[in-house]
Symmetry: C2
Subunit: 191 residues, 2 copies
Amino acid sequence: MTHVSIIGRGTMAQVISGLVEKSGSTVEVFGSADSGKPVTGDIVVLAVPYPAVAGVLAQRAAQFDGKVVIDITNPLNFETFAELTVPSDSSATAEIAAALPAARVVKAFNTNFAATLASGTVGGTPTTVLIAGDDADAKAAVGTLVTAAGLRAIDAGALARARELEALGFLQITLAAAEKLPWTGGFAVVS
Amino acid sequence: MTHVSIIGRGTMAQVISGLVEKSGSTVEVFGSADSGKPVTGDIVVLAVPYPAVAGVLAQRAAQFDGKVVIDITNPLNFETFAELTVPSDSSATAEIAAALPAARVVKAFNTNFAATLASGTVGGTPTTVLIAGDDADAKAAVGTLVTAAGLRAIDAGALARARELEALGFLQITLAAAEKLPWTGGFAVVS
């Protein structure tokens, strides 16, 4: 059984926590008041906004050595909704992986609105979690967790593909913020 | 009634030609043997692979002045399927727009597999064409054409968003090429 540590207490943290429980794995959740408590999970979910990731890494980077670390962030400029805040030839995941050379970093969940993770459906199509990373075992572990929670998982390729997953997340958020898509909908994956 | 010129005779050119006819507009199609024949459409669809666009522009750029030009390309490296061939802070559409300062260039159709344009559905969800560009009237004209053909259209924002549309197209093609998605499926837009 997998033990999962979730850093963050926002909507996505809560929804992913629920998925972990549904999958039959155990979960521990860390808020900002828990900075002194070390993570013990085999899988760690960075479920904080991208600007808060640097602070988490400053505090906990060594605790992530050897673990699977899931980056769920969409590094948007939330003031303008017009750009990402990471270099155009990089991604939040690539930046995090560079800061955590002893961890196995994967991108996942950033293309899923919280409501579609909770409901398991995007307009009638089963919710699919796209997973990118360079460590096949790490991706498989995340995929197993996702499918055990009743969702679909697709290996979207190498860590370099996090750039496209973040573009997809960016586009989906801007369209929902502009009320062109509902937060219960968005991009469904028809596989 | 809109008159549409389609440059290209491949699958996407054929499918888009069918959509134009279905919409009640008229269409003319240009193959490589038609280089001497000028385009007469109000809307021009560049339905050739991205590496062939430069040749079309070299031949016809002046003919596109004042027209709506639709870029449908996905500028993938089709040898590696690992990268786009345009600079990471740009897009095929931005490059084409820079080469056609007197035309009104929009991105559209690059996130739609041909089969889903022809069938009008992605796994039961109506096919949606995402349109990006800086000219509102040009985007509206393309949207009108798309909806008259029985599909849905969403204004995806400024021309700068073509970068994210190309990332989406890239991701969708790599997943289909890896047999993780069917060419009749992919990303459906639940709006």
